[in-house]
């Protein structure tokens, strides 16, 4: 091979096959540079690597990484918490256990499908290779071609549909909730950058991973939506938005310079930091209020303070960060997810008891 690099434009017939990864059986084209992204003057430079030279894990490990297990708490967590609230807190009986289990599986496959499609789309838009902290990076590392990732996404979408069908049959009203959720998911991808920076994407995340998700779980489980379920969804939705915003802080430097589609990216560092700090206080207060509303016992609320400790450490790191490149913000997104998981575990444990 004379040069391991090749630069192509969208006019080039090889451009799309290179991006998709189906241009050769022996080589993989890893994008390393991109100019004028998503314009008619776009040019992408690929590094050609023999597939045999790529050290890749077994397929299930790649699938595991691509399905973003660390974010499963955001999708499955509120669902499980709702079922626990209904069963243990409100003493309601589950009407269709099989449909409920199938719906959980469907939600899992939907989660995987959404993140795989996100990886695929960001790769095609040249986002994930410009910022190595984004996405699962399975395409950028050459572990899977973009075409394979898209195929996995479709398979997972099919599985999600198959698993979700029983719930839709026994609870037709669920279709309305799923439709709004679909609008939120599609909207996240397609709304304009301006609207995204005005916070519409955050509202969609709040609705989709909060009240909508808990309402769907409640509909599948008992066929109706008690007000406590919506309150629980509000707490989880606010917490999900906070988690995503803290994750965005890690990319704030790039967001500021490259005009990323984020709400936080619309602010300068000090204001973004202030916003996140205020939200941590707001979400903590909201969670405590929700806990009191659901349990009506201060004992449970005091126990809840322990679950907020990881969030406090996130608060301290964000507060101490001197600049958007400060090491205090390293892995802050992961720590935010741990904080979210701690809250989920607490909700689960408290509802179970």
């Amino acid at each position: 091979m004379s040069s391991p690099f090749v630069t192509l434009t969208p006019d080039d017939p090889d451009f799309r096959p290179y991006l998709l990864g189906n241009f050769s059986d022996d080589l993989r084209a890893l994008p390393v540079d991109s100019f004028s992204q998503n314009s008619s003057r776009e040019r992408v430079t690929f590094r050609l690597v023999p597939i045999q030279e790529i050290k890749k894990p077994t397929w299930w490990k790649i699938y595991f990484k691509a399905c973003r297990p660390e974010l499963l708490g955001l999708t499955l967590g509120p669902f499980f918490a709702t079922v626990l609230l209904l069963q243990k807190g409100l003493r309601a009986s589950i009407q269709h256990p099989v449909a409920l289990i199938a719906a959980v599986l469907g939600l899992f496959f939907l989660h995987v499908c959404a993140f795989l499609l996100n990886d695929f789309r960001d790769h095609m838009r040249g986002v994930d290779f410009a910022n190595r902290k984004r996405g699962s990076q399975v395409i950028q590392k050459g572990w899977a071609s973009a075409r394979e990732v898209r195929m996995w996404a479709f398979v997972n979408a099919g599985l999600a549909l198959a698993c979700g069908l029983p719930a839709l049959i026994v609870t037709p009203s669920l279709l309305a909730v799923v439709s709004i959720a679909a609008i939120c998911v599609l909207g996240l991808s397609w709304i304009s950058s301006r609207l995204a920076r005005f916070g519409l994407s955050d509202i969609m995340v709040f609705v989709g991973l909060g009240p909508l998700l808990t309402a769907a779980a409640s509909l599948v489980a008992i066929g109706k939506v008690p007000s406590q379920v919506l309150l629980l969804g509000t707490a989880f939705g606010a917490s999900a938005v906070l988690t995503l915003q803290i994750r965005q802080l890690e990319n704030l430097f790039r967001a500021g310079r490259d005009s990323f589609r984020t709400f936080i990216g619309a602010f300068d560092f000090d204001r973004a930091r202030l916003l996140v700090l205020s939200q941590i206080i707001f979400v903590s207060t909201l969670q405590i209020a929700m806990a009191f509303e659901v349990f009506h016992r201060w004992v449970a609320v005091f126990g809840f303070v322990l679950a907020l400790l990881p969030l406090y450490f996130v608060y301290a790191s964000v507060k101490n960060a001197a600049s958007p490149l400060s090491s205090d913000l390293l892995r802050i997104g992961r720590r935010a997810i741990w904080a979210q998981t701690a809250l989920l575990v607490w909700w689960g444990a408290a509802l179970w008891i």
Binding site: V32, D33, F35, T45, R132, S323, S326, S327
Partner: protein, 314 residues
């Protein structure tokens, strides 16, 4: 780089007010010892583009003024006692004079460029100065940050170091009113890679690797700044080990900590990683050919030499 251009006079006392003798003395000291690499790069590119002497001098002077202004400010921020083996301006004169002298150079840049009248060049130069200052600002927040990683430093260096290389590559074309977008994007990326390689090569000098210039050893580390090679060798260190590294006073102590043989293999690994950046740079340099006029294509051969020169200091 061609030797024929080395005599171009960047600093001339006549360019500055005679009623400010101290300012002139400060500039005499500052400009007398520099290598003037960036201005030579401008001259090399200017030669291939057939740029007029007036334009070449303007651009060479501009880049050296910006670079030296940043050094004046940088030395004061870092409290560095020496610059080019001489007492730093802020110590020899005063911190106030060092700041004013740096500001004055930046103001002169704008005066000189605006006389020339190319608005795109003025705008681009102002953007580069902004980037440089942003880089300085953010770098200061990384002092005593011992968890800093290579990718964080790369982003700072892109602003602080690479911005001037990008300017050197692009400004002669802007002066010639060649605004071809593909050309400028490629030059921008090449400038980014050159800045990265120059900075990483410079950071290796701190660990006495290819240090033919005789630069002070462990200067960055002792000043509380983990540079790119420091971040690279300590990427898997525990908190305790990083604390040990922080307190190393000699290179032998660093080598003992890492393991002398491991130190050598880490340098080789670092070189290999940077070789990939060099390869990418060379790919971009070769891709310039269709974007240049036939008479300008000799430039590619000169540009191809730069990454080895800047990283391996050959």
């Amino acid at each position: 780089m061609s030797q024929a251009f080395q005599d171009l006079k960047i600093f001339d006392r006549d360019d500055f007010p005679k009623y400010l003798p101290k300012l002139n003395a400060l500039y005499d000291d500052l400009f007398s010892a520099g290598k003037g690499f960036r201005s030579k790069l401008i001259q090399t590119i200017g030669k291939h583009l057939n740029l007029s002497d007036r334009h070449t001098r303007l651009l060479a002077q501009t880049i050296e003024f910006i670079h030296n202004a940043s050094l004046l400010h940088d030395d004061l921020i870092d409290r560095s006692p020496l610059r080019r083996s001489k007492t730093a301006a802020w110590l020899k004169y005063s911190p106030e004079y060092a700041v004013l002298a740096g500001d004055y150079l930046l103001a002169r840049v704008m005066v000189n460029l605006s006389r020339n009248g190319n608005l795109r060049l003025i705008q681009y130069t102002a953007e580069i100065i902004s980037d440089l200052l942003e880089g300085e600002w953010i770098q200061d927040s990384l002092i005593d940050d011992w968890r800093v990683q290579l990718n964080q430093l790369d982003q700072v260096h892109d602003l602080k170091t690479a911005s001037l290389f990008k300017w050197c590559l692009k400004a002669p074309f802007i002066a010639q009113e060649n605004y071809d977008e593909n050309l400028h994007q490629t030059l921008e990326e090449m400038g980014t890679l050159l800045g990265l390689l120059f900075q990483r090569g410079d950071d290796l000098l701190d660990f006495d690797i290819r240090n033919d210039e005789g630069k002070a050893i462990l200067g960055d580390l002792k000043a509380g700044y983990l540079n790119s090679f420091g971040a690279f060798i300590s990427r898997d260190f525990t908190v305790e080990k990083k604390d040990q590294l922080k307190h190393c006073q000699t290179l032998d102590e660093v080598k003992q900590m890492v393991g002398p043989e491991n130190f050598i293999s880490l340098v080789a690994e670092f070189d290999e990683m940077n070789q990939q950046a060099i390869d990418l740079y060379l790919h971009h340099a070769k891709s310039l050919e269709p974007m240049l006029k036939p008479s300008e294509r000799g430039l590619i051969a000169d540009l191809i030499q730069l990454p080895t020169l800047l990283y391996f200091r050959k």
